[in-house]
């Protein structure tokens, strides 16, 4: 349970009185790299591979999508659809405990990856909503808590949430919370209660809770992504590229995942 430790919160607190300025810096030129974002999901017709390319850091142009690659996962060819996205045949569903091999042929180079579709931890679907007054850095509202269970000592998963409120539109993305779990510091074969950190909802809001299993590579990737998204500071670790499990010099991630969604309405 590592990522719930919001170390970089310090940076904001301690250096709230320090100052920042946008500056001009010269950066070395870089060659374009292939960006791979691929998922094999246990949800029917949810698997895809998206290909794009990097751009120079200060470039104002949009990252170009790649539409002329050959993409294969195990023996299934993924076909180009739109926006750099390649999808398999209709009805495609990932199978738990299966290794998935990705091969991408693009511009005369081959990129490959392997991900094991591990089973998801057990989620007890009895969710609790408790009203809290405003405390510390959390607003007033309903918290969401649930129970989960690891089955063995080397399980990894991550969790995201999104919610809609009668007053706001659905969020397109689910990056308000990203919590990774491993079984290192956690009891297993025992239900563990968990409050989604700092999440506070209003009555009648609908919350979407999404759990995905992952392997160690994806776990490390999401931890690094979460660190990176919190931004750098004098207290941050030195900058480092996101890890990748793609060979051949591409960036990104290929992950096979068991997925469960829970959509719940907060009843007053």
């Amino acid at each position: 349970m590592k990522n719930i430790i919001l170390y970089s919160l310090f940076a904001f607190i301690i250096f709230a009185s320090s100052c920042t300025e946008v500056i001009q810096v010269d950066i070395p030129a870089s060659a374009d790299r292939l960006v791979v974002e691929g998922y094999v999901s246990t949800e029917k017709d949810s698997s895809y591979v998206q290909l794009s390319k990097t751009v120079s850091y200060f470039s104002t142009s949009v990252n170009p999508f790649v539409n002329n690659a050959f993409v294969k996962v195990n023996n299934d060819t993924f076909f180009y659809t739109t926006n750099g996205i390649y999808r398999p045949h209709a009805g495609y569903t990932g199978i738990v405990n299966t290794p998935y091999y990705l091969t991408v042929n693009y511009s005369g180079k081959t990129y490959s990856s392997l991900s094991i579709l591990n089973p998801l931890i057990k989620i007890d679907s009895t969710f609790k909503f408790i009203y809290h007054e405003k405390e510390l850095i959390a607003e007033a509202g309903y918290s969401v808590s649930f129970n989960f269970m690891f089955h063995d000592a080397n399980q990894y998963t991550y969790f995201r949430d999104g919610f809609n409120s009668p007053k706001s539109l659905w969020r397109d993305s689910l990056y308000s919370q990203l919590v990774t779990f491993d079984s290192k510091s956690t009891k297993y074969n025992e239900l563990i209660p968990f409050d989604v950190p700092l999440l506070r909802l209003n009555a009648n809001d609908t919350v979407l809770l999404m759990f995905r299993s992952c392997d160690l590579n994806a776990f490390n990737y999401y931890n690094a992504l979460s660190d990176m998204s919190r931004g750098g500071s004098p207290f941050s670790n030195p900058p480092a590229n996101l890890p990748t499990n793609i060979t051949g010099g591409a960036v990104g991630l290929f992950a096979a995942q068991e997925v469960r969604h829970f959509r719940i309405r907060i009843a007053p």
Binding site: L136, S229, N237
Partner: protein, 804 residues
């Protein structure tokens, strides 16, 4: 190896020859202590000079001296920088014991025995190079951040020593890492010399008697770190009268009380500091929930147990705490205790035996919710027993030898829930135990009136002790290079394939090192000399730290089965020249340093609560070289120095930048400092310092891409770009009040009240020097930006100091 053993044999043989010669010549010995006439404090490094023979010696760390001369009548001059000298005619037809008290120079002193203080040529003639000693009184004149007198900030203005970030007390020496510096407080290792995430050091200027820093030519008595030794000695306390002094600043205050326990025989000193800047936080919108403070306490006492024995007991306690309401917090503390027993076996053989305790700990608390909270702690504890002996053969020959044994206990991490509802289960990484032994011999010998040398050998042994579980890795290494993955076609992979268990008390891993040390000085004339030095150093404890600021998150880890001891070899050559009858000192030193087995952190390393830390670091190499120019004027109304260093420091490690050499983070090609202090009148003093430095190296973002809906940077090679150059001017004005006499009160018999106001401005022209550069996407515009964080603009402060 045979070659090394031969060196040791020659060294020991040479020493015994000198011993035998000494016996045959039938000399007589003058010995004793040199003290401050006003306070009774021992004076370290005071000079004892024989006029007729143009030779002499100096006092050791305890103010003791011993001088053996052939039968005869000699004029002996006792002197110390800033003090009037004393001249005595001594008949060396028998052994004498003579304690001398030197008076600090005051304009009103006109005693017959006290002559005017004259600058000496010690910097030219001493058989040492790459060592600098600053007078604590000079340090107090230097304008410092928030007016807090700080010896560490002062040494950062010297050549070859550079701050690890704006306003930071952590420092690097001659291209070494932050943890390559041995910091000693009365012989106790201080593992984290920082307060307030590095903005202040743990050293309270009011409690410090003396300090010096070695950045090369390190004597054999010191060991355990690669780059430097900062040796700080606390005051013993005034053994003649009770005095008190202190300072009241905007953000912190300090108070020191000292006096005799038994007049001229034993004394004590108690000195404390406490910050209170958190009192202002409620007025800040951003900081209103922040709690932060530091405090420290120095205590020292000494007892004269007889003519030949003296006991010193000293201790330091310091604590930092930073927190945000009850949500989160962290803190750290250093605790040291030293008991030292001086014994004079004879007028020539002086010994000191010390028992030293050191503890450094930190805690990190997080309390997000009732069922999501924990506290994590980490600590290192040392118990050291050491003996140092000093045999004064003659003014030509001085032998030091001794040994030490340290038991290290390292708790790399414990985690436990704060409340019983917490989902976090208690856990602890296994405690690591190690024994660290060392023995050394160091001989200083004047071959002629012009040629002198100090040479020695240190033998260090480091043993890991069970109980312990040692992982076994694929390919026999915790990191092997996989050529399939990684942005540049290679990545470091770790794969545990098993483990071995070692029982409690069993020694499962031993490392050792032979560390030769050498200093040679050749006096070209009384005003100039050429010096050369070589030293090899080993380091068995390594600081795992990724941030420049000290946050308490960093931790120490020992050399073990996979982490090798770091080793450095350094050669230095210097030319020293004094001008205007030693009033102006000039030196230029060039050095080259090789480092092996340096500890380099892997990209994106996971360092927190990691039970196999060896998988997150890689073995590296380092090299640094440079030229240091130094001009100093220590006497007169205008004092100060100008220092310029041109240098390069690089690292190389498998899996980092494809194994190519890259710039060390604090590699600064140019580093210029200028420190000046001018006495405008008897009561007004103005001081200023200026720093100019090449910007630090950093890792730039060279590209960007989108994954998971987020725009993320693609970073280039490690440390392949430079932040803008650094420059800063600080200024301070000290106004001394007239001394006033008051009636005796309580213990204070002769009450003279002295007060002074110190007005200082840090960063006078409000330069926004970068602390870090981060690459972020502007949430409003969506554009990628390089964002500079700077910590300090102009920072004025005022402190009122008093003494009575």
């Amino acid at each position: 190896m045979n070659f090394k053993i031969h060196i040791l044999i020659i060294l020991l043989f040479g020493t015994s020859v000198v011993f035998a010669q000494q016996k045959r010549e039938g000399k007589h010995t003058l010995s004793g202590n040199i003290k401050d006439a006003k306070t009774g404090e021992d004076l370290i490094g005071a000079s004892i000079y024989v006029e007729e023979l143009k030779t002499g010696t100096i006092t050791n760390t305890y103010g003791f001296y011993s001088l053996s001369l052939p039968k005869g009548n000699y004029s002996i001059i006792f002197s110390y920088t800033g003090y009037g000298l004393v001249k005595k005619q001594i008949d060396f037809s028998e052994d004498h014991k003579l304690n001398i008290e030197l008076a600090e120079i005051k304009r009103e002193l006109k005693e017959v025995e006290v002559n005017a203080d004259k600058p000496d040529n010690k910097n030219v003639s001493q058989t040492k190079m790459s060592v600098i000693k600053l007078d604590i009184k000079e340090v107090k004149k230097i304008p410092i951040l928030l007016g807090e007198v700080d010896i560490v900030k002062a040494i950062q203005l010297l050549p070859g020593i550079q701050a690890a970030g704006d306003g930071n007390t952590l420092y690097t020496v001659r291209g070494g890492n932050i943890d390559h510096n041995l910091v000693l407080l009365d012989e106790a290792v201080v593992y984290n010399p920082s307060h307030v995430v590095g903005f202040f050091s743990v050293f309270n200027g009011d409690a410090i008697k003396d300090f010096e820093i070695y950045k090369g030519g390190i004597p054999a008595e010191y060991g355990g770190r690669l780059a430097s030794v900062l040796d700080v000695h606390l005051k013993e306390g005034n053994s003649k009268e009770y005095t008190a002094n202190g300072g009241i600043g905007i953000l912190s205050s300090r108070f020191t009380f000292e006096g005799p326990i038994e007049k001229n025989k034993s004394s004590f000193i108690v000195s404390a500091r406490r910050s209170y800047y958190d009192l202002f936080f409620p007025f800040s919108k951003d900081l209103k929930d922040v709690t932060t403070y530091f405090g420290d306490l120095n205590i020292k006492t000494n007892f004269k147990l007889g003519e030949k024995d003296k006991l010193y007991i000293s201790g330091y306690m310091g604590r930092d705490k930073i927190g945000l309401s009850s949500l989160l917090g962290f803190g750290w503390g250093n605790y040291t205790a030293t008991a030292r027993w001086n014994h004079m076996f004879s007028s020539k053989l002086f010994s000191n035996t010390s028992f030293v305790f050191t503890n450094y700990d930190y805690n990190f608390d997080l309390n997000i919710a009732k069922n999501l909270n924990f506290t994590r702690t980490n600590q290192i504890t040392d118990y050291t027993l050491k003996t140092d002996l000093n045999y004064f053969f003659s003014p030509k020959s001085n032998l030091k030898f001794g040994g030490s044994a340290t038991y290290h206990i390292l708790d790399p991490g414990k985690i436990k829930p704060i409340t019983s509802e917490s989902a976090i289960t208690p856990d602890a990484l296994p405690t690591k135990y190690a024994l660290d032994y060392a023995a050394y011999v160091n001989h200083k010998y004047n071959f002629s009136s012009r040629l002198s040398a100090e040479y020695g050998m240190r033998v260090s042994i480091f043993q890991n002790i069970g109980s312990s579980t040692v992982n076994q890795y694929q390919n026999g290494t915790p990191n092997y290079l996989d050529k399939n993955y990684g942005l540049n076609g290679e990545i470091l992979i770790s794969n545990i394939i098993g483990s071995s268990y070692y029982n409690s008390g069993s020694i499962y891993n031993t490392n050792y090192g032979l560390e030769p040390r050498l200093n040679i000085t050749y006096l070209v004339s009384d005003e100039s000399s050429v010096k050369v030095s070589y030293n090899r150093t080993f380091q068995y404890l390594h600081l795992i730290q990724t941030t420049a600021a000290s946050t308490g998150q960093e931790f120490w880890t020992p050399t073990d089965t996979y982490i090798k001891p770091q080793m450095a070899d350094q050669v230095a050559l210097g030319y020293f020249r004094n001008f205007m009858e030693n009033a102006i000192e000039f030196s230029v030193e060039g050095y080259y340093k090789w480092m092996t087995n340096t500890v380099e952190i892997k990209d994106g390393a996971d360092l927190q609560f990691n039970n196999h830390i060896e998988t997150e670091i890689v073995e590296g190499k380092g090299r640094s070289y440079g030229l240091e120019f130094f001009v100093r004027k220590q006497r007169g109304k205008t004092t100060g120095w100008l220092s310029y260093t041109i240098s390069k420091s690089e690292r190389q490690a498998e899996g980092v930048n494809n194994g190519d050499w890259y710039a060390y983070r604090f590699d600064r090609t140019h580093y210029l400092t200028f420190v000046v202090s001018h006495e405008l009148s008897k009561r007004v003093n103005v001081s200023a310092n200026f720093i100019y430095a090449t910007g630090d190296s950093y890792t730039p973002a060279i590209g960007s891409y989108v994954v998971n809906g987020l725009q993320v940077p693609l970073y280039g090679d490690r440390n392949s770009a430079r932040v803008p150059n650094y420059n800063r001017l600080d200024l301070s004005v000290t106004l001394l009040q007239k001394k006033t006499e008051a009636k005796p009160l309580w213990l204070f018999e002769k009450r003279k009240f002295e007060g002074s106001w110190v007005f200082s401005v840090f960063n006078l022209y409000n330069q926004h020097n970068p602390y870090t550069i981060n690459f972020k996407t502007n949430p409003d515009t969506g554009a990628n930006e390089a964002v500079k964080t700077y910590l300090f603009g102009i920072v004025p402060s005022v402190t009122y100091n008093f003494k009575f």
